[in-house]
């Protein structure tokens, strides 16, 4: 059974991100002019203003920067308590996500993690969501 999630923000460049996820690829936009990554997706580079952006596949590995656990209900789809993490990808961008296979009790600063895609659905249909498991490196 896919996990029910609150709705994604869709349309334009946002659809492109999720299409890559559905193929099991974590790709983020990178400006061809100044090499800066953009996340969430943009239509123009926020660093240099360039409008040529490639979807660069990232390794999917990174480290925990911070974490937060929701104990107040903001979304009916989300059971409480609900762990969220902030991951620094090896390529630099910070990525908000969820842990899979571990909880806040095991979280430590700079803990290595790697991406995994789980089956989810929202009002727009089924999709694959990038989350992070522990990574022994």
């Amino acid at each position: 059974m896919p996990e029910r999630r609150p709705n994604r923000f869709l349309g334009g460049v946002h659809d492109e991100f999720w299409q890559f996820c559905n193929r099991g690829e974590l790709r983020l936009q990178r400006c061809t002019g100044c090499s800066s990554f953009a996340w969430p997706p943009v239509t123009r580079c926020a660093h240099c203003g360039g409008d040529e952006l490639d979807w660069r596949r990232v390794a999917g590995t990174g480290e925990l920067v911070s974490w937060a656990t929701f104990e107040h209900r903001y979304h009916w789809e989300i059971p409480l308590p609900w762990d969220t993490i902030l991951v620094e990808l090896d390529e630099g961008p910070l990525f908000v996500s969820n842990p899979v296979g571990f909880t806040r009790d095991e979280m430590t600063p700079a803990m290595p993690v790697e991406v995994e895609f789980i089956e989810c659905e929202d009002d727009a249909g089924a999709f694959r969501l990038p989350v992070f498991r522990k990574h022994a490196r």
Binding site: N7, A38, H47, A68, L86
Partner: protein, 406 residues
């Protein structure tokens, strides 16, 4: 990358320092209205923004000692939408030659008013703010999009991961702060306890009951590690500030409070890094530098601080960002009593957003005015002549320096 000076912002300039002053302040009855709303009696109808604004305006007008006909400018700042400025003017019984609706939270509201006064577009302006989230059933966080239209603010973007609300930013920030500096959740409790003590000296504050460390530590988490008492209140209310050119402020009943300086900075790309890892330190430092330079003042001149405390940890970021405490020592500063009356920097002396009212920084300015007039009663900071107000969101810093006029 990093600090962005806001486009379209009224540039701080020495020639705009102290050309305008706040001469009247008025507020709605935060505590009384809050209790009336909570009692949920069948006949109770929550007042809307305009009627709250009218209450605040009448009080500010009376406080200023001016006549209704003296008010020839108005800026109607209604949160979540409101009537057009001309309709507001009509409802307030004024005939302004300058009427705008530019603003909502106390971010970039006062500098354009100073310019309007300096350029003679009006002589006396009423800045009127109202927020009626409880009357309009406003919900913060969750599956609602922002007022900005197509592009959602970041916390809406991350909803597929169940990450929502402004509070979630501050939860990430405080977890990172604990990881970095070894602070504890109990340390953070000192901020809410301090502001609650201040609110105890303010009869218009919504939350005045004493808060102990046990009360704090046994309260529920909202977004762990942040608890109920780390997050601002939500209430209906209104504030009015009346401003004039400083040449026109003699013979009024209260000491004028001059707008001495301001600054502004915004986050650029990589906002999460600037927020969580840097806690906007570079932004507060840059915006503060602008404000002090414009005012011709130094940090050591500041005797009172009013920081935007949407969350307890957000207030600590500002104390550290402006340099009142070294990075990582803000909670020790608070625990030592340095934010109390008699401390090095009495802070949010009317109770702030955490214990007084969620008036988006407008109530902070009112308290700065009362302190600088030396009319703050039992919570007066002795002989204070300079107050720093800091508007701060998850993406901007906007300090304003106020001084006691002659």
């Amino acid at each position: 990358m990093g600090v962005v000076i806001t486009e379209g912002f009224t540039e701080p300039a020495r020639e705009l320092s102290r050309v305008a002053a706040i001469v009247g302040v008025g507020e709605s009855d935060y505590a009384k209205d809050y209790r009336a709303g909570r009692q949920k009696e069948a006949t109770y109808v929550a007042p809307d923004g305009l009627s709250l604004a009218a209450v605040a305006f009448e009080r500010a007008l009376a406080d200023s000692g001016l006549g209704r006909d003296d008010i020839d400018g108005v800026n109607a700042c209604f949160m979540y939408g409101g009537p057009a400025p001309r309709e507001v003017a009509e409802a307030l019984g004024i005939r302004p030659r300058y009427a705008v609706a530019k603003g909502n939270i106390m971010d970039h509201v006062i500098p354009p008013a100073v310019v309007a006064l300096a350029e003679g577009r009006c002589d006396t302006i009423a800045l009127v703010y109202a927020a009626a989230p409880r009357a309009s059933q406003r919900v913060y966080g969750g599956a609602t999009y922002g007022d900005e239209g197509a592009t959602p603010v970041s916390y809406y973007y991350f909803t597929p991961w169940g990450w929502s609300s402004q509070a979630a930013h501050w939860a990430f920030i405080f977890q990172h702060y604990m990881n970095t500096f070894g602070a504890t959740e109990a340390d953070l409790g000192s901020v809410a306890m301090t502001l609650r003590r201040h609110a105890g000296r303010n009869e218009n504050a919504i939350m005045r009951a004493r808060l102990t460390i046990d009360d704090y530590l046994t309260s529920r988490y909202i977004v762990r590690p942040l608890r109920l008492f780390d997050i601002c209140l939500v209430n209906n209310g209104a504030v009015c500030l009346i401003m004039r050119r400083t040449g026109m402020t003699t013979d009024l009943p209260h000491v004028p409070v001059e707008v001495a300086g301001w600054g502004h900075a915004r986050t650029g790309p990589a906002k999460m890094h600037q927020l969580v890892r840097e806690r906007l330190r570079l932004h507060f430092a840059e915006a503060g530098r602008q404000a002090f330079e414009m005012a011709g003042l130094a940090r050591s001149d500041v005797g009172h601080f009013q920081g935007y405390d949407a969350s307890s940890i957000h207030l600590v970021e500002q104390l550290e960002g402006y340099g009142f405490a070294e990075a990582g020592t803000g909670l020790e500063f608070c625990k030592d009593g340095q934010m109390d009356l008699g401390g090095a920097l009495p802070t949010n002396t009317s109770g702030g957003l955490l214990s007084e009212a969620y008036m988006h920084g407008w109530n902070h300015v009112v308290e700065a005015v009362r302190q600088l007039r030396h009319e703050a009663g039992g919570r007066q900071v002795d002989d204070v002549t300079t107050s720093l107000f800091s508007m701060a969101t998850t993406e901007s810093a906007h300090p304003l320096l106020f001084t006691r006029g002659g």
